[in-house]
Symmetry: C2
Subunit: 297 residues, 2 copies
């Protein structure tokens, strides 16, 4: 039952990440509890935890101890959640709902949302730099450096500004691919690469996992665009149909839904080919390639 | 001429930091240039560069090569500038002027200001993790970990939420000291500690520099509160008189200006005593203790 195997692994990762996040962010009774409450609201109880899952499964390819890779998985999820909190702000995408819950600035206020995002990002680096993440300081350094690159102005944040510009600037397919590689692709690629870093992988395997994640990330994004066009808000747990309403170029608007769907399939198949060096150990990641294009939320 | 010696050192640090920041953030011609322009606006051409100066002078106590300590000085300034950009946002302190220039969200927009701040914070960690900062990966790790602690929810960001709460919550002197220790003290303490980390200082010297910076930071903050009460906006390069307008507890409102001024003096003297282990090498830092309470901007 490959589907059950995959779903079980995904569920287990989500449960482990949820538990670790809860431990990392205990309820606070200090005067600044509002900040910690907002951080908890931002990270707990939701999301597919896809990025942490990629970290865990890629680390598993190299038999990395799960308590180590889980710390990196959590760091990646902290960065992902911080980006959602800032992205949802009224001055950015102005979203009221996320993962089926009101967004942080709706429950608290904008200032608290800005600060909660800042604190989550900062915490990710604290987590990675701690020796519990790896006994090898060079591994911790690589993890910090690669995350900062992926999350920063030449990665995710750069992609977010492009995404804002896309509302007013015409973008062709090349520009859209670049935008998505930066906005969502960089952190997905990091998630896979982090497994390789933790596993002291040689250069070729590390690159194979980056290539895998790059194709997977684009397939994931196209599937996301299709869901935005066709999905229901109830299933997505967030507003849908927003891209078209803003005249924002997406793969779907550029290619049309049928070609976009075909493109996502091709990318998912291509992603699989990069897993060849890992043989049978990569089977769950092969399932993941199917999952990202077939999911309905 | 001790005053000239001090001023020369401060000017040299500011010039070095400015040059390094300019190199780190070259003008961009990519589509996302707006982000880089906003980052440059946030960090270039202004500020006393007091935190970088502390890094450089504390590292100098241990004869650390200046090209190494300068990288850490720049990282600290990136974090300081990011915090100003977010702090100035309409949803936070809503300030239009900073360092005599319009703030980032005024020149660009709020979304760009949020993202520019995010990118500056992220860049600080990228800088520290790079091997050019120190050949010793354990030193880089310590630098990353201590900065994340100082900047995060239990440090600066925690202090910022307390500062927002102070507008509506009565705070006594103990609570105000705690707020300031977190909001401005943590990064000032890190600046001093970073010199010790770079210099492989023993535990007692590292602690001495933390204690020094802690007293210095509070003296600095009281002087800042006095300037907010008595200073002119033209000299400060930012709005003044805002604390009283908001009914926010400060050292000045709690103690009155005369007692506050006396307290700042005592703290500056106390800061000096922690420099005893460094003998003559610490003279510039002794001058700094005088400077923070005598400055007029």
């Amino acid at each position: 039952m490959p589907e059950n195997r995959f779903q079980n692994a995904l569920d287990r990762a989500a449960a482990d990440v949820e538990k670790a996040l809860g431990k990392l962010l205990p309820e606070s009774h200090a005067l600044e509890a509002r900040l910690f409450d907002a951080m908890r609201h931002a990270v707990l109880g939701g999301g597919k935890r896809l990025r942490p899952f990629i970290v865990l499964e890629c680390a598993e390819l190299f038999n990395v101890a799960r308590d180590r890779s889980l710390r990196v998985a959590v760091a990646v999820e902290l960065v992902h959640c911080y980006s959602l909190v800032h992205d949802d702000l009224p001055c950015m995408d102005d979203d009221d709902t996320r993962r089926g819950k009101p967004t942080v600035h709706v429950v608290y206020d904008e200032a608290t949302a800005v600060l909660a995002g800042d604190a989550l990002l900062t915490m990710a680096f604290e987590l990675l730099a701690d020796e519990e993440t790896s006994a090898d300081p060079l591994v911790r350094m690589e993890l910090v450096k690669a995350l900062a690159k992926a999350a920063g102005s030449r990665g995710m944040v750069g992609g977010q500004i492009l995404d804002l510009l896309a509302e007013t600037t015409a973008m062709d397919e090349t520009a859209t691919v670049r935008l998505q590689r930066m906005k969502t692709g960089a952190i997905i690629a990091y998630s896979a690469e982090a497994g390789a870093i933790l596993g002291h992988a040689d250069r070729s395997r590390r690159q194979a996992l980056r290539n895998f994640a790059h194709d997977l990330g684009l397939a994931f994004q196209i599937a996301d665009d299709l869901l935005d066009l066709e999905g229901s808000a109830a299933r997505a747990g967030k507003a849908v149909g927003k891209d078209a309403g803003r005249g924002k170029a997406t793969f779907v608007s550029l290619l049309g839904p049928d070609v976009a769907r075909e493109r996502a399939k091709i990318l998912a198949e291509q992603a699989k080919t990069h897993l060849a060096p890992f043989g049978k150990k990569g089977e769950i990641l092969l399932d993941l390639c199917e999952f990202v294009i077939k999911r309905d939320r």
